[in-house]
């Protein structure tokens, strides 16, 4: 466990250096949050019945902006370059498990920028932009537990995206396609509860809802604490499945990898 923790710690320290970029990103995410919220508000003015209240939507949108960096939307660029140049061979010489190493790097990549951005953004949203607090203390406890599982799920997907570089070598078309699909089905574009019922019910079963949609609905009480165990079960099952998938991808990819150069 020690070497993986060390990798994660050093990666985090490196990623926390980019504070100016984080400030710029923060402004972008605030503006984007307002845009998304204004669009959804406009639909609510139609006045029809909806499975989410407007204040639940507001919490959902701001949480989405705060935890955007946690979403597995990109690959680990360093690992991709290692695969391209062949220096990934050095990693094989180390007495550590490659999948766990990549997972530890993913953990750093998903937490450090998120921590930097989510605290100020949530503070601003709660104090200035009218974001409602959690529905209750119980809801908040379940939300926190669920966010931890969401993080693991996001990392499992990140490693799968990264490992796809073992097949494509040049270009990151495959990982981009996967990320686009994941983003569309996660609730990041519109809350899944607002989709037509037949579609929403199907999409929620996929792993992507566990990173965005389900935890956010726990926060606002749109999913009551009594139903929280189902959310956590969904996330745990998918995490186990995706870790197994990623592990077999890494193993198989490394077996067929040809290292160029001398």
């Amino acid at each position: 466990m020690r070497p993986y923790l060390a990798v994660m710690r050093t990666r985090c320290r490196l990623l926390l250096q980019y504070r100016a970029a984080a400030a710029a990103g923060l402004a972008t995410q605030v503006a984007w949050g307002f845009l998304r919220l204004m669009i959804l508000e406009a639909f609510y003015r139609a006045g029809g019945p909806a499975p989410m209240t407007l204040s639940q939507v507001s919490a959902y949108v701001w949480l989405g902006q705060a935890f955007l960096a946690m979403f597995p939307w990109n690959v680990d660029a360093d690992v991709r370059d290692q695969v391209r140049t062949g220096s990934v061979a050095y990693e094989l010489a180390r007495p550590i498990d490659l999948y766990s190493l990549w997972f530890a790097r993913a953990l750093a990549m998903r937490t450090a920028p998120t921590l930097l951005r989510c605290v100020p953004l949530l503070a601003a949203a709660l104090l200035l932009f009218g974001m409602p607090g959690p529905a209750s203390a119980t809801s908040f406890a379940w939300f926190s537990a669920s966010m931890l599982l969401a993080l693991l799920l996001a990392c499992a997907l990140t490693v799968i995206l990264t490992a796809s570089a073992l097949w494509t070598i040049s270009g990151d078309g495959a990982s981009r396609l996967l990320a686009a699909v994941a983003l569309s089905l996660s609730g990041n574009i519109a809350p899944l509860a607002l989709l037509p019922d037949w579609l929403g019910r199907a999409v929620v079963l996929l792993p992507f809802s566990g990173i965005v949609d389900l935890p956010f609905r726990l926060y606002s009480g749109n999913i009551a604490p009594e139903g929280a165990w189902l959310v956590l079960l969904h996330q745990s099952v998918w995490t186990v499945v995706l870790v197994a998938l990623g592990r077999s991808m890494v193993n198989r990819g490394m077996r067929r990898l040809t290292v160029m150069g001398g």
Binding site: A31, L177, I189
Partner: protein
Amino acid sequence: MRGVAGMIRSMRRYLRIYGRLAAASVRSQWQYRASFALYSASQLVATLAEFGAIWALYARFGSLPGWRLSEVAVLYGISNVAFALAEAGARGFDVFPGMVRTGDFDRLLLRPLPTAFQLAAHDVQIMRVGRLAQGAAILVWGCMGLGIGWDAARLTLLALCVVGGACIFAALFVLQATLAFWTIESLEVVNIVTYGGNQMAQYPLTIYRPWFRLFFTVAVPLAAINYVPLAALLSRPDLSGLPAPLNWLAPCVGAPFLAACLLIWKLGERHYASTGS
């Protein structure tokens, strides 16, 4: 008369050079066919999901008060086609901050062509066809659903909207790059007006709060390339509150907006001091 003939000659020269450079980038990207196909597919998924969300919200709420889905589709289509056209030429401006950092920009200054032109012709991206195709399809679908007579004047206006929008988005990409003359790094904040502007323009302007509306009418005149001309297309001057002729002429602001941004680019270029060794 001589001046006009000279201008046409130099324009033809630029077009020829642009064609050559674009063809070269297309050839180089065509070497990675699988990557090209996957990248286009990912763009198609992303943009389909965007319109899918609009459709889903219409299905859920019945309507956006006062707006039919076909009208929103026209707004969406104009904005996305314009954005995709601008994006194809924007790659050079995207990598430009890196050129400033490494000093590679010096090489561009040595060539006998305007730098902005060279950047626009740098690595023309054919991979943007995903957004272009999807935007065009939604635009055609929306136009057919409007239930208005499509005469020559309206078709011309629609073309003007797309060109004007491409000018504005291109101008924003230029402006984003220009800032790098001073900051030496790319500024993510500008994405609010590029990607955010595209997102904003997909919905009728009236749904937004007043400060937001004002910004996208006066500072970044994206309203002029789709919301205002929509009033002319639908023959509903009440939408914009402007005299009818202005609704027809609004998309023309794109060209001067681009010209102004290119002037700022020139200013930045004069400020440029090489970082290279």
